[in-house]
Symmetry: C2
Subunit: 296 residues, 2 copies
């Protein structure tokens, strides 16, 4: 790779070189670039690019833990940031990835993620989000069916009383393994005749309940959750590029294949056709490269 300085940036080269590399390879490229040109690749990209293309290239080039730290910090600094971003970091990463994101946050901002989050949120949102981001879940598949049954009952009791942020409920969602939560949600279905998310509706507190339902969906079936986020980001006139970029960048090397399957099932259009219809130029090319269709 040539130095980006003084050449005019070859955006096609950036797409094909960075877009097709794993996180470990991107890290090596960044190190090699810094050694050869005495400049951080990210800084060079920042100088030479702009707009949605700049944002997606920078986010993709960042180390995943640093990227999550940076996403989270955007939210804890904003007035109306979307807590969905924080919830995704808490629920759609492995336990160790979440720890690495918390470490990156601490190293970069000299505060802990949960500290900033606790300050930034109040009420139900805080009661749900702080335990979620501090979780370190067991990741094995073993499930305790007796526990699943009894916790399904606890969830039902709390929900019947509209205690949607009761500690018993947030504690189950934030400490149990994903396999165990899945079993509990299945028991809920079996014992009470419908899915838990049907019961998480009420005229009050709609915003919190939407986040709670999203949390459950993201824990139970991340590819369906992300399919929906992608769908909404491209719905109607105008595109929510920030969201589209976030989902593509964070899921590209995790579960994009399954997300694409879900997307096609739900929309009868492939994700790549949807992206082609909603975006253009280099930004579109980078998105398509990351979802695995670099030749389109």
């Amino acid at each position: 790779m040539h130095s980006l300085e003084g050449w005019g940036i070859d955006r096609g080269a950036i797409i094909s070189i960075l877009g097709n590399r794993s996180a470990a390879q991107r890290k090596l490229i960044r190190e090699a670039y810094a050694q050869t040109y005495k400049e951080d690749l990210l800084k060079a990209l920042e100088k030479g690019l702009s707009g949605d293309f700049e944002r997606i290239v920078l986010l993709w080039t960042l180390d995943p833990a640093e990227r999550d730290a940076s996403f989270a910090n955007e939210i804890t600094r904003k007035k109306n940031g979307s807590y969905y971003v924080i919830m995704e970091i808490a629920c759609a990463r492995t336990s160790d990835e979440l720890l690495l994101a918390r470490k990156a946050y601490l190293n970069r901002f000299n505060k802990s993620l949960e500290e900033d989050l606790a300050c930034h949120t109040t009420g139900d949102f805080r009661k749900l989000l702080v335990p979620l981001v501090t979780a370190y879940r067991y990741e094995g598949g073993e499930v305790n069916m007796g526990l699943a049954k009894s916790e399904a009952k606890i969830l039902h009791e709390k929900i019947s009383k509209k205690a949607f942020s009761a500690e018993e409920l947030t504690s189950i969602l934030s400490t149990r393994s994903k396999a165990q939560i899945n079993a509990t949600l299945n028991c809920y279905n079996d014992q009470f005749g419908n899915s838990i998310n049907k019961d998480l509706r009420s005229k009050e507190n709609e915003e919190y309940l939407a986040l709670l339902r999203a949390t459950i969906k993201c824990l139970k079936c991340p590819e369906k959750y992300f399919e929906k986020v992608l769908r909404l980001s491209m719905k109607g006139i105008g595109t929510d590029e920030e969201t589209l970029t976030r989902v593509v960048v964070t899921r590209a090397d995790v579960d994009m294949k399954r997300i694409k399957e879900e997307y096609y099932k739900r929309n009868s259009v492939t994700l790549e056709d949807a992206i082609k219809g909603d975006t253009s130029f280099d930004y579109a090319k980078m998105l398509l490269t990351l979802i695995g269709h670099e030749n389109n």
Copy 2:
């Protein structure tokens, strides 16, 4: 080191070899022993030793994170376990040591520490302990004095209303850096004329309040906290060997020097003399070796 098998154990050698080694050195000894004799050193020690001496040797030989995991699990399995042990792990370790202890817990017990703790505790105890064990605090010395003042006020408001487990209070104690908490506690003193622990008294809920005061003391000044725990473990007739062992083993290579200073200041007796008066034989020798007086 000879194999312990078949020789009759040389307890003096165990004291002088293991007692004078750092955690990293103990780890190497354990690895070398396993390679040479095809047996875990811990298992060999377990077979050959008994009583308080066995317990202290085993706990000392364990990797610190495994040791904490094992302490914590003893508590989450017991009916009347002491939550002080869990609080110490949460408050008197570095942020990374606490994470390692949580990882060791997960690896060994296939559940997360906070999961077992949330199940095992209720009410105020849960509201305080779960956030404490999931903390990952900033460890730098930077302090925000404006924040310290405003949070001292929040603490005072909650305490005046006897809301001793209010989220605002537990959130400050579990997310702020120790330096920041220290500043907040000093502001509390300045603004309200007495230390916070003076105000944390009430006829109801005495057991929880005692834990809360201990938590604050342990965060603010661990050597004073541990001085008191040691003092109480040797008070009156009979010794609480379990507690004495725990404090000596976990603080020996951390802050034992300062604990000994505090001990002498408070009791006008050196810690070594107190230990000699309360314990005997190899157990006493091991304690004295670990607190740094191997020649007594």
